[in-house]
Every structure is written in structure tokens, then in C-alpha cells.
Amino acid sequence: MTAFWALVARDLRLALRQGSDAALVVAFFVLAVVLFPFGVGPEPQLLARIASGVVWVTALLAALLSLDRLFQQDYEDGSLEVIALAPLPLEAAVLAKCLAHWLTTGLPLTVVAPALAALLQLEGPGYLPLILAMALGTPSLSLVGAIGAALSLGARRAGVLLSLLVLPLYIPVLIFGVAAVEQAVAGFAIRPHLLILTALLLAALPLAPWAAAAALRPALE
């Protein structure tokens, strides 16, 4: 377990020292959401209607933006080789990197989301579900994104390839994340949606590191 936490600590330290990376993701999230009132007009009813969808879609795009740094730098400077040759299973190493990635992107996005939702006039009952759904959904984004990041490693135009690979896989999280908020605003139960988000996370937790590790091995040959 020492090795697992050492890897998490190293990735967090790197993210903090190169603070711009994590800050850019949050800045993108804020800026992209702020564009919507300019685009569709400041009418409160309209903004409230689209608030949850806009927040979720931009959060997905912001998470996507940060995925390339998950393995790319370690791959280029040879660190990934050192990590892959450690006794720690590569699957566990991927999980550690996903955890660090979530702490530096998913978590800040979850914290900022309510403020942006307020900007878009989201109605009162929607806030708690938004926070809960983001907290349950964003770890899945990091985990599923790791598969795409591993697959596109070393490819030309990796960024474009990455979005093509990953965005379709984000759709379930988007659907149930938005539904949780909308149902709460409409006065319905949110529990089923949160349970499905939890189920998605529990499925991604073992499967994504396994798939990403399988995709990393050929890249290291």
C-alpha cells in the first residue's frame, strides 16, 4: 500500500507545483458556463431550464481537457516505465493516478459547480442533488477517461482521438447526472438516479484500471 499512496502523493505534489494545469481546468469550466447567458440571453426561466445540462456538459468537457496529462508526461519522460516496473500491479498504479486526477479536477469541479448553477438561476431544490451527483459522477469521468488516455498514448493528434474515444462513454454519467437535478427541481425522487451513478462508479472502479493497464502495456513495449 505504501507504493499506492506514494504514487498518489507524488501526482498531487506535481499537480500543486504545476498549479496551472488544475487551475486551467476550473477556469475553463467557469468561462464556458459564463458564455451561455451571453449566447442564449439573460432570461431567468430559460437559464434555469438549461442550468443542469449546461453545468454537466461543460464539466465533462473540462474533465476531458485534463485527461491528456494523466499519462502523457510520465510516458514522455520515462516515469511510466519506472512505475510499470515497480512491484505494484499496473492496475493499482492506474487507480492511484485516477484518484490523484479526481482530487485535482473532479473535486474542484464539484466545488465550483453550485456557484455556476446559481449564475444560471438553478432553482433551490436542485443544488444538493447537483453536488451529490457531481461527487458520484466525476470519479467515473476520471476512471473512464483513463482508458481513453491510455489508448491514445503516443498517437498523433492524441487530443482529438481522446475526445472521440471518451465522450461517448461519458453519456450515461451525463444522462443520470442531469436527471438527478431535473427530477429534484420537478419535485420527484432523486434516489434512483444517484443509485445508478453509484452503480456506474462501482462498475468503473475495477474495470477501468484493468482496461487502462491493458492499453498501457503495448505502449511501453
Binding site: A3, A6, L14, D77, E81, L85, E221
Partner: protein, 219 residues
């Protein structure tokens, strides 16, 4: 400080190995054997497969044909155990510009679950003590190399696989490396070094990769 090791004379061996990079067969029918305390120098012109053989030995690349065995059991059967007993230093130094020398070594030791008290001797052995708190960003090429090599000492492993380890090192640092290799071998460790320069290693076997180049018809 010799470690008590089981008696079989050969511990790490490969037989009938073949390797392909891309569409090209690099070498074939290659055999080697390495006993405790042994050293193997890989020589040959560029592209003869020195690095490929090291990556094969590390288990990063599966061999196209042949087997690698440790104490008689194929390494493919238990890759995790094999990773636990080797250090591989490739061409890249694997350093992060924003981490300090001490943090980098501490991470490498922790990654292999080694006690942290090994970090300081590793730093001293390669004369990095004065640089311990420097970020890797400011290190020179030779200093980066020394730090990469200090990884060998930061956590124990019986098998060292070194790819052109002297690149960028000055004479004094090369001597430090050779001293570390000699100490490692006297403790029963093994080392495989791919090199262009003649390295003065006592009783080192040389494996010239040219001899295993595939015959034209096979390629």
C-alpha cells in the same frame, strides 16, 4: 558482505530468444546465462538490439521466441515477482522538473516499498547531497544521470539492467558507478550493461549482439 545464495550456478538465463521491433527481426537464437555476482556487457553496433534485449530481460517486451528464466522458472509465470527483483535504467532519466532530488529518490524508494533510510546513502554515493533540495529542473545532464543511477541504491534489487549508464557522466561519476556495481556484485547481485565504451569490470562476460543478427533469408 556476501549474501547466502542457493547453490545453482545459473540464476538468470535466457534461451533461444528472438526479438522483433516493428517489422524487423533484431536478433534470434540468443542465449545467455548470468550467475550471482556476474556481469554481462552487451556490445554491438547501433540497432543491433542491445536496448531491445534489456527490455526483454526487464519483461517490458515479450520475446518473439524463447524463454527467460529466473532460478529455472519462466519469468512470464510471475511478472510481478520479476519486477520486484530488478532495476531497469533506460535512456530516459524519468525526472520531474518540479520535484527535488530528495523527493524524487524518496518516491522511487517508496514505489518499491523500500525503507526510507536507504535514500540518504544513495544520495551520498553519487555525490548528490549538496543538490538534495534542488528541483530537477536545474540539474545538468550529468547530474540528472547520477540521480537516475542513484535509484539503483535507493531500493535493493538483485538484478540491474543498465542501458548506456555512462552517457553524460564524467570520469569521477563513472568510477562511482563502477564502484556501486562492484559492491552490488560482491553481495551476490547481477548486472547487465549495454555499452559502447569498454567498461573495466572484473570478470565480466561480453555478449556481442552482432553474432545473433538474423540471417538475411530469415528476415
Amino acid at each position: 558482505m556476501s549474501l547466502p545464495l542457493p547453490s545453482p550456478a545459473r540464476l538468470f538465463e535466457g534461451s533461444a530468444l528472438a526479438c522483433r521491433r516493428g517489422e524487423r527481426l533484431v536478433f534470434e537464437e540468443l542465449d545467455f546465462a548470468l550467475a550471482p555476482g556476474g556481469a554481462l556487457l552487451l556490445t554491438g553496433p547501433n540497432g543491433s538490439g542491445k536496448s531491445s534485449l534489456l527490455r526483454l530481460m526487464a519483461g517490458l517486451t515479450p520475446p518473439l521466441a524463447g524463454t527467460l528464466a529466473w532460478d529455472g522458472s519462466p519469468i512470464a509465470e510471475d511478472p510481478a515477482a520479476h519486477r520486484g527483483r530488478l532495476h531497469f535504467i533506460g535512456h530516459q532519466d524519468a525526472l520531474k522538473p518540479v520535484l527535488t532530488v530528495a523527493e524524487t529518490l524518496g518516491f522511487w524508494a517508496a514505489l518499491r516499498e523500500a525503507p526510507r533510510d536507504r535514500v540518504l546513502p544513495a544520495v551520498q554515493k553519487f555525490h548528490l547531497a549538496a543538490l538534495a533540495e534542488w528541483p530537477c529542473r536545474v540539474l545538468s545532464a550529468g547530474q540528472r544521470r547520477r540521480l537516475a543511477l542513484a535509484r539503483l541504491l535507493a531500493s535493493p534489487a538483485p538484478l540491474w539492467l543498465l542501458d548506456e549508464p555512462t552517457t553524460g557522466l564524467d570520469d569521477a561519476s563513472t568510477k562511482d558507478l563502477l564502484a556501486a556495481v562492484a559492491e552490488h556484485r560482491s553481495g551476490g547481485g547481477m548486472v547487465v550493461i549495454a555499452t559502447h565504451l569498454p567498461l573495466p569490470l572484473a570478470e565480466a562476460a561480453t555478449l556481442s549482439l552482432e553474432k545473433f543478427a538474423p540471417r538475411r533469408s530469415a528476415a
